[in-house]
Symmetry: C2
Subunit: 362 residues, 2 copies
């Protein structure tokens, strides 16, 4: 099947190409792919990283390999990108793996799980710690190949209409919260709501929901939440560092020349760096603007965080009983996290702690 596909792609490429090398050996054929995204164009962070990716793929190939981007809903609904890539409706996509946790909760590890890895830890686990290989065993079941493609940094815990004082204050809160985290937070009495981005603000305004989490200051600011729910909670313990993933139809991936596989991989990795550093550049001024606009920053209490931690671990234990793939990913991620934070507290954390303290004195 792969052999057949390779020949087909190469044959098409030769027709379009002006170079006379034999089709079978052609490393850089003319190629046009369609890439469906889970992101609206207004997210110049997540959508922007995909633009960087497609631009770089073109530049690296003297414009022979062109990837056309489609924002959420243009040709594929935002939360059906996996399905579209799996079925070959599009050659590639960029999405949050955890949107598909209903198919298999193992997909949550593609993006973020409650009390999981921070941004640098996630990159290290994907790149060197086995995460990439374990996740690709999962993606392959869905006829996809995946490359982690950028992290938002630790996300905020969302906008609440009322201040929270105790764990019990969470009970009965109707909250827009993404995917797998909803399963965990419901153990604390929160009633998770799935809403499209455009529906969140009016629901909060009307009081149909009491709280909503989205991403962080820069992305959240665009949706205007500060006007209708001023308590801005931190941290988003369900997304200590949330990753996008570039998904490629498995046969399309295998049909690529080694050169083009390198092009896609390099551009995707570069987009990772672009995305995290973009967030780290735009979030600081955004949080200042939000505070000026009336946002009241609150940190979840130790009691609330510990209750959530317990709820997360209970959820993990329950799923692990029947899902060996989930357990395998959980064990790998947890071991990595525990080792990593042991080191983090020795050097990174004291450095950041001192730097933060000196800002207070400045």
């Amino acid at each position: 099947m792969n052999r057949r596909n390779f020949l087909k792609t190469a044959a098409i490429a030769t027709t379009a190409s002006t170079i006379t090398a034999p089709a079978i050996a052609q490393p850089t054929p003319e190629l046009r792919w369609r890439m469906a995204l889970s992101w609206p164009k207004s997210l110049d962070t997540l959508f922007g990283a995909c633009e960087q990716f497609a631009k770089r793929v073109a530049e690296l190939t003297d414009n022979k390999f062109q990837i056309q981007l489609f924002a959420a809903g243009e040709i594929v609904p935002g939360l059906q990108v996996l399905d579209a890539v799996q079925n070959g409706t599009v050659e590639a996509g960029n999405t949050g793996g955890y949107y598909y946790w209903g198919k298999d909760p193992s997909f949550a590890f593609s993006t973020a799980v409650p009390f999981g890895l921070n941004t640098r830890q996630a990159e290290a686990w994907f790149y060197h710690g086995g995460g990439h290989e374990l996740l690709n065993e999962l993606y392959a079941q869905y006829n996809c190949y995946g490359i982690a493609s950028g992290n938002t940094g630790a996300q905020m815990g969302g906008w609440f209409r009322k201040e929270l004082h105790t764990v019990d204050d969470l009970k009965g809160i109707k909250m827009r919260i993404g995917g797998f985290a909803g399963k965990v937070i419901s153990k604390l009495g929160v009633i998770p709501q799935q809403l499209a981005p455009g529906d969140i603000y009016p629901s909060l305004e009307k009081g149909t929901i009491d709280a909503a989490e989205w991403v962080g200051p820069y992305d959240d600011e665009k949706l205007g939440f500060v006007k209708v729910a001023k308590y801005y909670y931190s941290p988003g313990w369900w997304e200590g560092g949330a990753n996008g993933v570039t998904l490629i139809n498995l046969e399309k991936w295998q049909s690529l020349s080694k050169t083009y596989q390198a092009v896609v991989t390099s551009a995707a990795h570069e987009a990772s760096l672009w995305l995290t550093s973009k967030y780290d550049h735009v979030n600081p001024p955004a949080i200042r603007r939000l505070v000026s606009a009336g946002a009241q920053i609150r940190v979840f209490s130790e009691e609330q965080l510990e209750a959530a931690y317990k709820a997360a671990n209970e959820t993990y234990a329950e799923i692990s009983q029947t899902n060996p793939r989930f357990k395998k990913l959980l064990d790998s991620m947890t071991a990595f996290r525990n080792d990593s934070y042991q080191w983090w507290q020795v050097c990174e954390w004291p450095y950041d702690t001192f730097q933060i303290r000196m800002r207070g004195k400045a």
Copy 2:
């Protein structure tokens, strides 16, 4: 000059190439470059990132663009990489910019300055915050183009033969410490020593020096310091996130096709991600091994850190009086750092803090 160089390179390339496109328009000529590194082969972190870079450049170009690596001292002494690239002895290099702070202290911002940016902040400042452009004004004066190429993470503060209790305990300490940081730490009475890597261990063993900083657990372990100086101090406040830089002779850079400029840039950015995640993967087990081998981890006291912070700011003020380029870089970096930590303390820091606390409870 650039036009002439471009034609020369293209002409050489055409001779070696089997493709018949006109030389002037050839985006992917055969090309062989030599790249001198400041790193010995034994540093599979820093040297390894350069191997990844060269391998990727070859893969992206169907092996047409080959970059041959030379470890420190093979053809260029480790601390003269800038000079070799500037003079065109080699087309490219990978080094720590701060090794050249004696030419201009502005070079320190290429790598790290005391109480400067952490790893993610450095990437964000380079990529989106103007750091890349400001540094390239400096590199251009030395006939180079530079791309930030990977960060070690926060480094450790080094190995001390005796425990330090007060600020005064630093007085008279003979310490191997790199470049610009030596200028700052000497204000606290430390006597900085410049030693090649191979000379550090014997000097510590004999007591010719009292302390030595190198990188962090994984790299330090190889040099065996734990056997002769067991107090391992944190954090290395002079390298809260230290960057390597890929330097390219400016004319060679300008002679590259747009395609090859994209290849070099993408591969260098990808190597950045590779390097930081490599360190984040190998340091956690290394710190455990070092503790098992007898390392006593200590954190510099608040008093010591504040004295160092004051010394750093005094040094910055002194240099800024006579060096406008240094002042421009300092102002840009400082503004970025202050904004960034204001946001960092809202979300990343509380997330990491809770995660570290839960490890203590596990």
